[in-house]
Symmetry: C2
Subunit: 218 residues, 2 copies
């Protein structure tokens, strides 16, 4: 604990009314992993009933339901809860951000860059990700554009998130463990997977424009 009564770095960060977290890291992560696993398995099962849908598309549906709900519920709560660190009860969503702030104290400090990126992610990319689940399942013609748009948005958010931290001194983690586990580790899936989806969507769209258009009436 710092002199200000919180575990975050920089220690001088002023967080009046801070209330320490109630849940352990294990509890917080287990709930997130458990709920996510149930939703992903359910999506995998249900997507198997869709006609003519490849295994990759079913995996993409699982990813988009997981990332969409994470954006809307977890990041949506953060974006609109400036005082989460004062929460006096074991509110799970507040606990998540009290814990994650050990990896990046800009969350507790309400850094404008972080709030802007999380707000855009929660309000635009969250619902768009759920739309992507539907678009993939029903093979909509805008499916690849939507996947490209969401994934590029996630990558832009990552870039802004990491660059602003770098420019501000990259010293917002309670310890190297939290730096690597939360700041680097937890975000890495949202770098690697969107990058792969961008490449795939890009190739699919390019292929659609390479098809000879002899059957096109106009």
């Amino acid at each position: 604990m710092s002199s200000e009564g919180h575990p975050y770095v920089p220690h001088g960060l002023y967080l009046p009314g801070y209330v320490p977290g109630f849940l352990s890291m294990t509890t917080i992560l287990s709930v997130y992993a458990g709920v996510s696993l149930v939703i992903v398995l359910l999506t995998w099962r249900l997507s198997g009933r869709c006609a003519k849908i490849s295994k990759i598309d079913r995996l993409l549906m699982c990813w988009f339901i997981f990332t969409g709900l994470t954006h809307i519920i977890l990041e949506g709560y953060f974006a609109f809860s400036p005082e989460f660190y004062k929460e006096k009860t074991p509110n799970y969503l507040a606990e998540v951000w009290k814990e994650y702030s050990k990896g990046d104290s800009r969350y507790a400090a309400r850094d404008a860059g972080v709030v802007a990126v999380e707000g855009i992610t929660a309000v635009l990319e969250g619902p768009a990700s759920l739309l992507a689940v539907y678009a993939i399942a029903t093979r909509k013609p805008y499916s690849y554009s939507l996947q490209l748009a969401i994934s590029l948005g996630q990558l832009y958010g990552d870039a802004a998130y990491f660059i602003t931290s770098f420019l501000e001194g990259d010293n917002f983690a309670t310890s190297p463990f939290y730096y690597w586990a939360y700041y680097v580790g937890a975000n890495s899936s949202w770098v690697v997977i969107p990058a792969l989806i961008v490449i795939r969507s890009w190739k699919k769209i390019s292929a659609a424009f390479q098809v000879p258009k002899k059957t096109k009436s106009r």
Copy 2:
């Protein structure tokens, strides 16, 4: 002039070594408008020689050459010149940002969010815009994906730019004139035009996936 010797708001902004601009607003804008007009007209003329290219595509080539060079030259200079406000000679690029900072002092103050967005814009979207000119001229199959990606990136940058300012109090302009002329006015083209390009690219891509694929061999 504030007590700190600069014209920017907030007046207490500490900018040691600040040197006032040498060029008038009229000179700065005339050079930008004049050079841009020459480049756009040249692109329009040259694009007329490309076979089978529509007027809308020629206009898009003009837009992407203009926005690409603006990103690379103007915004690229800003992103990598933290001390532009100390420039002692009438360096045109420094003058641009000394002047624009009257509309948004976060540029002179080196706000991390602004530098991150400008850096991403200069390094990624600038070269990508020049590639788009080539892709449109040569009708590459990735042309619409590229236009969609660049324009979405510009819109994300706008959103992050305006939201961070709002969250930080929206009080960075020297006067309402500079607020509306620079902060709102100068950026509005980069909201309206990318939005139109996103809609058009999205529709074109969707249309490509709606074409009956009878001629497709696989």
